[in-house]
Structure formats: structure tokens, C-alpha cells
């Protein structure tokens, strides 16, 4: 049962990501991106990271996707430009050039993963032996809150200041230009 659900979520994520790439209509592609994010949140649950999954849904679906839809609607004239196929620079290679690059990268990563699987890292084996892995009955949110306020307090503070800087910078960049 567990593996059936896992494969469902994995196929949902990969399939909608593939469809997202091949669609010309950007609005539909953004809604498919929404489905990919939901399926990825489901996959996090299988790694017993419930808080990360909920945060993913709240941050991405509540914030990022709405922002992207706004930006798409504010730059709407570009809808048809994506159809014509002119290219020159590296950032926008035509599809037949991008495909071998990406397939080579994917094969390299898969090769690495299966080589690694033959001899996994010692800390993972030790953690399984010592019963040091997270189980389904653990209270994850309690533990994460505790770690955030004790062991990881410096990265936590830095990331909060960074987030504030980024948000102020974004609102400063997108303000209306005042004529002096």
C-alpha cells in the first residue's frame, strides 16, 4: 500500500513536470507546476517530514505560485513569442540541443546513485543499526522547534534577516518610478 502511494506521487510529479515543459500555454504550465509542488509535498511525507510538507504547500502554493501568476498576467504580451523558434545564446538553446545535455546529466546522476547504492555511507548504516532514524511515531514539530531555538539559532537568525532584506529589496525594485 505504501509503495503504491509512493509510486503514484512520483509518477504524478514527474509526469506533470514533463507536461509542464512541453506546454506552450504558460498559464496552464503554471497550474501544472502547482500539481508538481503538491506531489512533491506528498513525497516529503514518505520521508517522515510532515512539517516540511505543510510548509511547502503554504509557502509555494500560497506565495510563490500567486506571485508567478501575477507576473505572468502583468507581462502578458509575451504569450505568443514563445512559439517562434529563434535562438543564439546558451540560455535559450533549441530543444534538440538541450535534450542530450540533460539526458547526459540524468544518466550521470543515475550512475552515481547506483554506484553509491552498492556501498552506502557508513553513517546511514550506523544510524539504522543504532535505531537513530526518525520513526513515524516521533513528534517532529516539537523536535524541529527545539533545534531551531538551540542548535541552529545562528542560521535561523541569519535567514530571517536575509528574508527581510530580500523582501524589502523586491518591493523597492518593483515600485513606481517617481519623476524627479
Amino acid at each position: 500500500m505504501e509503495s503504491i502511494l509512493f509510486y503514484t506521487f512520483a509518477i504524478l510529479a514527474i509526469g506533470s513536470a514533463l507536461l509542464l515543459v512541453n506546454l506552450k500555454n504558460i498559464a496552464r504550465a503554471l497550474f501544472l507546476f502547482f500539481i508538481v509542488l503538491f506531489a512533491m509535498a506528498g513525497l516529503y511525507l514518505f520521508a517522515l517530514a510532515d512539517f516540511v510538507a505543510i510548509t511547502q504547500i503554504m509557502v509555494y502554493v500560497g506565495g510563490v505560485l500567486i506571485l508567478m501568476l501575477f507576473a505572468f498576467m502583468l507581462s502578458n504580451k509575451e504569450l505568443l513569442k514563445d512559439l517562434q523558434d529563434n535562438s543564439g545564446s546558451f540560455l535559450s538553446m533549441p530543444k534538440w540541443q538541450a535534450i542530450p545535455v540533460v539526458l547526459g546529466f540524468l544518466l550521470l546522476m543515475l550512475y552515481g546513485i547506483f554506484e553509491w547504492q552498492q556501498a552506502p555511507s557508513t553513517w546511514i548504516i550506523q544510524s539504522i543499526e543504532n535505531g537513530n532514524n526518525i520513526t513515524a511515531t516521533d513528534n517532529n514539530i516539537h523536535q524541529i522547534g527545539l533545534r531551531f531555538m538551540t542548535f541552529y539559532v545562528l542560521p535561523f537568525e541569519i535567514i530571517s534577516i536575509f528574508l527581510m532584506m530580500a523582501l524589502i529589496g523586491a518591493s523597492h525594485l518593483s515600485r513606481k518610478e517617481r519623476t524627479l
Partner: protein
């Protein structure tokens, strides 16, 4: 039984699709979507490895940090996209080729 390898393979596929989006699309918003897909693949790896670390919860906590970083990147990126659109009337990265005002 779902092992670590399952997570790694799914994450590698999602990362490759994100890379393909970044390389092949001619729209700045779709390029941002591709970057988000790659970040999501990285978060899946963090979480999958973090399952074996009950002492410090490093995987899940850095997954949360990565989500925050991705949100900040998208906010700034979309602000830049809107500014570029206001200047050039296009968001095709090919046609945006100078930094100074026209």
C-alpha cells in the same frame, strides 16, 4: 519498502526536468519555474537523507531553510522580471542585452 534510492531517483528526474526547462524556454517566468523545480529536487534529497539523523534533524531544518531561500529568490526574481518588462516590453532573455537605460 521504500529505500533511499527511490527518493534519489525521483529527485534526479525532477532535477533534470528543471534543468531542461531552464535551458530550453524563452520566457523568464518559465526559467524561474525551472529553477524552482531544481530547488525542490534538492529539498527532496535533504529530507530523504534527514530521515536517518534523529539527533540534529539537519535534513529537515535545512530543507526549511531552502524553502525560505527559494521564496526570497522568487520574490526578487519576479520584481526584476517586471522591471525588465517595463523597460524592454519583452521578457525573453535573448533580447535583454544591456544593463543601462535606453
Amino acid at each position: 519498502m521504500i529505500t533511499l534510492t527511490h527518493f534519489l531517483v525521483v529527485s534526479a528526474c525532477i532535477f533534470s526536468i528543471g534543468l531542461y526547462t531552464v535551458l530550453s524556454k524563452k520566457n523568464a517566468i518559465m526559467i524561474l519555474v525551472g529553477i524552482e523545480l531544481m530547488i525542490n529536487a534538492a529539498i527532496l534529497n535533504f529530507v530523504a537523507f534527514g530521515k536517518y539523523d534523529k539527533v540534529s534533524y539537519g535534513g529537515q531544518i535545512f530543507a526549511l531553510f531552502a524553502i525560505v531561500l527559494a521564496a526570497a529568490a522568487v520574490a526578487v526574481g519576479l520584481a526584476i522580471v517586471l522591471n525588465v518588462y517595463r523597460h524592454y516590453n519583452t521578457i525573453n532573455p535573448d533580447e535583454v542585452n544591456q544593463l543601462k537605460d535606453k
